[in-house]
């Protein structure tokens, strides 16, 4: 029996690295497949925003600027989700009383990797979950999308595949990163925490498990009650963390976005003379 056990242990110890390598290779293959299949669903969302400060009721300055953020198309009709924070970063620094910073979006354009552009508009936001949904104005040709309804929930130390989009200087190429799940937060809802994240550029991009199944969307999780004093970088990091919002949660809000989009389109029709 002891011999049998020893042989089994030896077999396992020899097989483990081989299995691990096979698993790694499988993950890489799945990651590349996700890149190939879902990469076209990553779009640039170009926003023209005007920010203004209000102090004691008086409005000051009003700088307008154009910015580009990452969006993930989640339906062929172009319904797209982004991290709400990326479209309104000043909102993070709002304070009770005193100076208030407000951002107003005036132009929204979906920019595909092939250069096609479609005017769009925000249809629904969920500041609590840090997601904002936008939809093209009018009909557009079907777009590639990430089907969040077929979701997976990974465990700690599972593989995580993140897709993100590089900037204009790199031709808006889609990049892929392999990560591990550092934690799965259950309260107040499920958040998958990657072991590392490529800064804010990842916000709004999709995450997949080691088999290439959608896990959710990278969003910014903020500490309840606001960022606090933020007197140090540590405070900043503690107050904000990039996490993967579960696909189920994205889907739940997306169903409302579909209805909101239909209502906005109906209003357009009603306004047409």
């Amino acid at each position: 029996m002891r011999t049998l056990t020893a042989v089994f242990a030896l077999a396992v110890s020899l097989a483990a690295p081989v299995l691990a390598r096979a698993e790694e290779a499988g993950t890489r293959k799945a990651a590349r497949a996700a890149l190939s299949r879902y990469g076209p669903a990553l779009v640039t969302v170009r926003l023209t925003v005007k920010s203004r400060m209000v102090y004691e009721g008086r409005e000051h300055s009003g700088q307008e600027s154009t910015m580009e953020v990452l969006g993930t198309v989640i339906a062929p009709d172009g319904l797209t989700v982004i991290s709400d924070f990326t479209s309104n970063p000043e909102g993070l620094f709002q304070r009770e009383g005193g100076v208030r910073v407000e951002t107003e979006t005036s132009e929204v354009v979906l920019v595909l990797r092939d250069g096609r552009e479609f005017p769009a508009r925000f249809v629904l936001r969920d500041a609590g979950l840090d997601v904002a949904f936008l939809a093209p104005v009018g009909n557009i040709p079907p777009l590639a999308c990430v089907p969040f309804e077929r979701a997976a929930v990974p465990e700690p130390l599972d593989d995580l595949v993140l897709l993100t989009q590089l900037g204009r200087s790199l031709n808006r190429e889609v990049g892929v990163t392999l990560r591990k799940v550092r934690a799965v937060v259950k309260k107040p809802r499920t958040f998958v925490v990657p072991d590392a994240i490529d800064g804010l550029m990842s916000l709004g991009g999709p995450a997949f498990d080691g088999k290439g199944r959608p896990v959710g969307l990278v969003v910014l999780r903020r500490a309840p009650g606001g960022p606090g004093n933020m007197e140090s970088f540590r405070d900043l990091f503690e107050a904000m963390t990039a996490v993967v919002l579960s696909a189920a949660d994205v889907q739940e809000v997306a169903s409302q976005a579909v209805a909101a989009r239909a209502r906005a389109a109906a209003l357009d029709g009603a306004a047409t003379p």
């Binding site: 154009t66 132009e107 929204v108 936001r125 104005v137 107040p188 309840p224």
Partner: protein, 679 residues
């Protein structure tokens, strides 16, 4: 502005010890001039990032005729969209801009004729001023009421120091100091003094204060009077141009003449055969000698004041030989054309005047200069996008030479996503580029809705272990109600502020740290809207069991009806429950919550504030955005000169008086934005 900027350049000026003059003479001078001082409040148009924006500012001026002509600086009132003047007797009088001249930095206003006759000041002779003479600077520093400071003449030929090279100050493209040699004095002036008079002890205006370099500088009265007179008569100043640049003689190169440093190609001077390096020794038969920079403004003035179209005789030295030439002056025009905003394009443009065109080696009126492009606008989003300094030369195949032609060729605003494309030709750094622009109005603002979720209309705080112990509650977590929305399902269910909730439908509320603030709302969010939940907890030490209905979370402010007023430049929306709760208003409070007040707009000028609740307009009650819209549309049709807003600000109410300048039939719509300051 000039005073402030130049003072900053000069660094901290030493506090001047005021010179003491005969008090009786000072009193008499003040008595003569003080009644004619005006404090000027202007709303001016500025152009930034492809938009016309309005700013409020304040300056000074002096009445120089019983008809109410006021002389001030161009940089105070030259771009005014609205002007009002406050007299020393506190009367506030509307004024119109008669004309403005950036080269001399002089502008003329005319006060409302109904107030005639106005007290006015007399001009004096600045040529009689000597260094050390006592002078008085009068005006409204920092927008204060009329004030006087005293000093002495420090310099009768003050120039812009070369110390600041290569920086130079320009007003609408005109070099400050090209024409003016200031009276330098040490009577203190501050931002807001600009345009106010410098007065001698005879009670005469000897200058118009313009700059501060530590020492203040006033435009001599003879120049100011001449320019103001022409502005009053014609609304503009016509000047001659030869295309000749001169500088002081290089040391050791002679004791007469002025060095011709440049001749503009195609100019009258070039046609007359003049070349750089020639020494100009005579102009119209009079000798010319410029040995020092201080002598340049006087020469420039001689040329500029020569009647347009005059055949002038020029005597110059070349290779030691004296030569003669004649040139016919042409109208100089302004350094820059008038700037306007093309809203549908999202850019600002100006015409290429003679001087501006020459600087770009172009013919006058050979295109339209882009002066700013609004980010995200059709002009910016064209491929390639238009940029500042591009020159638009064609639209849809039609050549564009002037702003008028561009405005006529440009398609009007078209709403919606489908904007008609138009082919635009423009030049950039010698390249002839083509682009396709889709002019049109911008999209509506973000009207997205906030996700709806099941919600209990209460506010809560987390029940920390410390709080639980202090309240003698045995629990590992929960929430304490801090507010119950009046009239809500929570209120109807009997919940009260102070109740502690520990379980929802038997499930513990796992909230025990401040970071768990979202736990309770997230628990509820899992229920469908309209569900009834069983809440268990503690009230005043006794067990509490209540069933409450969850409702849909309230709409965000974005979703509420909002009214935007383009004329008065503000926006207001319906009040919502959270507004009343957060501001601790009466739960039944009605009105329209002010959400936007564009700086420089008529609402901002009247000090309407974001967060004010508009209760009534001209005595008519406003109960929301729709009522406000209806009221303002009637006001817009009636175009009254004054509109009174009754607002709630905090716990106080107040009346605000709005005095709009309604656009003329052909006038541009009023637009707005940030800023403010003293000039």
């Amino acid at each position: 502005v000039l005073a402030a900027a130049l003072a900053a350049w000069a660094g901290a000026a030493a506090a001047a010890e005021p010179a003491r003059a005969d008090p009786a003479a000072v009193d008499e001078a003040i008595r003569r001039v003080f009644p004619s001082l005006v404090r000027i409040h202007v709303v001016v148009a500025e152009f930034r990032d492809g938009r016309e924006v309005k700013e409020e500012a304040s300056g000074s001026g002096v009445i120089v005729s019983a008809d109410g002509e006021v002389v001030t600086n161009h940089h105070v009132a030259g771009r005014a969209r609205r002007v009002s003047c406050t007299l020393p007797d506190r009367r506030e009088v509307e004024a119109v801009l008669v004309g403005s001249d950036p080269l001399a930095d002089i502008a003329v206003l005319r006060l409302d004729p109904s107030g005639r006759p106005y007290p006015f000041a007399s001009w004096g002779d600045p040529g009689r001023l000597r260094v050390g003479d006592p002078v008085l600077a009068m005006g409204s520093p920092l927008a204060l009421s009329q004030s006087v400071t005293q000093g002495i003449v420090s310099n009768t030929a003050m120039m812009m120091p070369q110390l600041f090279w290569p920086a130079s100050f320009k007003l609408d493209g005109e070099e400050v100091g090209f024409l003016v040699r200031w009276i330098g004095h040490d009577a203190q002036i501050f931002p807001g003094n600009s345009g106010g008079p410098l007065v001698n002890l005879a009670g005469e205006v000897v200058g118009i204060n313009e700059i501060s370099l530590g020492l203040a500088g006033a435009i001599p009265a003879d120049l100011a009077r001449t320019v103001a007179g022409e502005l009053a008569r014609r609304g503009e100043v016509r000047r001659s141009w030869l295309g000749l640049n001169v500088q002081a003689m290089i040391q050791g190169s002679g004791d007469r003449g002025a060095l011709i440093s440049g001749v503009v190609p195609g100019s009258p001077a070039e046609k007359a055969g003049l070349r750089p390096g020639d020494l100009l020794v005579g102009f119209q038969g009079a000798p010319v000698t410029i040995l020092h920079a201080e002598e340049l403004p006087a020469f420039n003035r001689r040329v500029l004041e020569t009647p347009v179209g005059t055949r002038v005789e020029l005597t110059f030295l070349r290779d030691g030989r004296e030569r003669r030439a004649t040139a016919v002056t042409v109208e100089r025009g302004s350094a820059q054309g008038e700037e306007i905003e093309l809203r549908a394009w999202g850019m600002t443009v100006r015409e290429l005047t003679l001087l501006a065109a020459r600087e770009r080696r172009r013919e006058a009126c050979s295109g339209v200069l882009v002066t700013g492009v609004r980010p995200g606008s059709p002009a910016a989003e064209a491929k390639p996008g238009l940029r500042t300094d591009d020159v638009v030369v064609s639209v849809a195949g039609r050549p564009i030479r002037t702003v008028k032609e561009l405005v006529e060729a440009a398609p009007g605003p078209a709403g919606g996503p489908e904007r008609a494309p138009v082919l635009v030709g423009f030049e950039r750094q010698g390249q002839a580029l083509l682009s396709v622009v889709r002019p049109g109005s911008r999209q509506d603002g973000d009207r997205s809705i906030e996700a709806r979720r099941a919600w209990l209309p209460v506010a809560t705080q987390v029940l920390t272990p410390e709080l639980a112990a202090a309240l003698r509650i045995q629990a590992r977590g929960g929430v304490r109600l801090t507010q119950v929305h009046p009239g809500s399902t929570a209120d109807q269910a009997g919940l009260r502020a102070g109740d502690v909730l520990l379980r929802v439908d038997g499930q513990e509320i796992p909230a025990s740290r401040p970071e768990d603030a979202e736990v309770f709302p997230t628990l509820l969010r899992a229920y469908p809207v309209g569900s009834k939940v069983r809440l268990e907890g503690v009230r005043d030490g006794a067990p509490l069991r209540i069933e409450a209905e969850l409702v849909a979370s309230p709409p965000s402010a974005r979703e509420l009806a909002e009214y935007r007023d383009a004329q008065f430049e503000f926006a207001a929306r319906d009040l919502m429950v959270q507004d009343r709760l957060q501001a601790m208003m009466d739960p039944q409070q009605i009105g329209a919550l002010v959400t936007r007040v564009e700086a420089g707009g008529w609402a901002a000028v009247a000090h309407l504030g974001v967060g004010d609740v508009l209760l009534a307009v001209d005595g008519e009650r406003v109960d929301g955005a729709a009522a406000l819209k209806a009221r303002m549309e009637r006001i817009s049709a009636g175009r009254p000169s004054r509109v009174v807003f009754f607002v709630l600000r905090g716990v106080q109410t107040r009346y605000l008086e709005l005095t709009p300048a309604w656009p003329s039939v052909n006038g541009k719509p009023v637009r707005a934005m940030p800023g403010g300051g003293d000039r």
